[in-house]
Amino acid sequence: RKQDTTTEIDESNPIMVSFKQFQIKLDSKHDKHERIVKLSRDITIESKRAIFLLHRANQDDPKACSIIEEAEGKLHEIKKTKWVDVAKELMHEDIYQFLRAYSPGLQEYIEAVTFLYFMKTKTLMSLPQMQSDLTLKVDETENSTEDSEITPVITELTVPVPPVEYLLGIADLTGELMRMAIRCVSTGSLDVVFDLLNPIKSIHDSFVQFGPISRELPRKLNVLRQSLMKVEAACYTLKIRGSEFPKHMLVNLLNEDHGG
């Protein structure tokens, strides 16, 4: 913002002169921090929206593909607009100095991207894959002179993904997988519920082996465990109910009920 009012310091006082410089340094750091926080907040909101969207994808099969595409577009848009800016802010910096500023956005984004990836491939996106997703190619052609032939100038920017952030994002992912499973119970996509059980279980079992890697982990691990047990309970219920009647009958019944 404005700093002009503060310029009228006593220039003869060496302490004031020093602090004038500190002010500039601190403000520039703070401003950068603020800008990143703001970007992160936007990324969080947009990522959450993409996740919301993805949850609608399995309700009616016909539209699923287009919804997934829409979500993919959303995420791509985030990359193009927000992450590029974050990457520029972080260029030549010690990213850990600003990690707290973009960590919430990063985790939510990881959650969204890995969720999408899971829906498409039924596998877990790895850290290197995630890192390459956040390695951005920016076309900076515009900056060159206008008249001559345009030679595309592509710069590669990177938003570093620390492993801990990746893990915390994955922990959150299981929450979404759980929600998807619960939803499938009511929509009658019973196979999907069972298909979701093992992935969550194996993420859970892997997490169990991590020591105290982050202050956030214990809480997230707890939530993860609860998610797992909710899906286990859902599978249990289906199994129990399925025991009374043949499964195909059940699926069709529920499909009809919702299709009507």
Partner: protein, 233 residues
């Protein structure tokens, strides 16, 4: 490849990464522990200025403490060597506390020697570190500033003991110094919570010193008449 298989692969890689980090942390923690012990000893040396004897000959004390800073440099080389490039802030919490204390000690020494505020450059140099991130293992500006605020508290106590030891002029100089510090910090838009909290304490430190000056003045003990600062200062 189903998710459970992919998960196993994905996580095993990360686990070895985590183990490596854990090892670095352990090593840094061990060096920092020794440095903290050394810091405590330096502090003990500096505390002697509060004693009447020490007050009379502060230069002996500051000389000794300056000497002890040589060893500080070695510790920072050790830490810096263990640190992966560009990851200073990943491990910053480990040495933040001791670095603030060392800043304070350096600032205290400089104030006793020359009644002036230590610059960030000088402070860094005494510890054998840089001031700019780009140049290597450096001192964070916030930590340097925290050192200055710790100095303010110490000087408020020092002004009391100075008067007790019969040195009536020192409080006047300290009041001037703290007044300048206060104005300086007011310029800053402090976001850092611990810094802001400490800055609140500066108000009280300053007030205390002002009261000492008041006591000395009203009893006409100080030799210096308070003249406005000469323009050339």
């Amino acid at each position: 490849m189903a998710l459970n298989e992919s998960a196993t692969n994905v996580f095993s890689e990360i686990r070895s990464y985590m183990n490596a980090e854990q090892d670095i942390r352990e090593e840094i923690r061990s060096v920092v522990r020794d440095l903290e012990q050394h810091g405590r000893e330096m502090l003990a040396v500096m505390q002697m200025v509060h004693q009447p004897d020490g007050l009379k000959d502060t230069s002996a004390i500051t000389t000794k403490a300056r000497g002890m800073f040589e060893e500080v440099k070695k510790y920072f080389v050790l830490i810096s060597d263990k640190l992966p490039e560009n990851q200073y802030y990943r491990f910053h919490d480990h040495w933040r506390f001791i670095m603030q204390r060392l800043s304070f000690l350096a600032a205290f020494i400089v104030f006793l020697e020359s009644e002036s505020m230590i610059g960030c450059e000088d402070c860094a140099q005494m510890m054998g570190v840089k001031t700019k991130r780009e140049e290597g293992f450096h001192i964070d500006l916030d930590d340097y500033l925290m050192g200055l605020l710790q100095l303010a508290s110490e000087l408020s106590r020092f002004s009391v003991n100075a008067v007790t030891a019969g040195d009536y002029n020192r409080p006047v100089k300290i009041a001037k110094f703290l007044g300048d510090l206060d104005s300086g910090f007011r310029l800053l838009n402090l976001k850092n919570d611990s810094l802001r909290k400490r800055f609140d304490a500066l108000k009280y430190d300053l007030k205390k010193v002002e009261e000492v000056v008041y006591d000395v003045t009203i009893r006409k003990l100080a030799s210096t008449t308070i003249t406005p600062a000469p323009s050339g200062e």
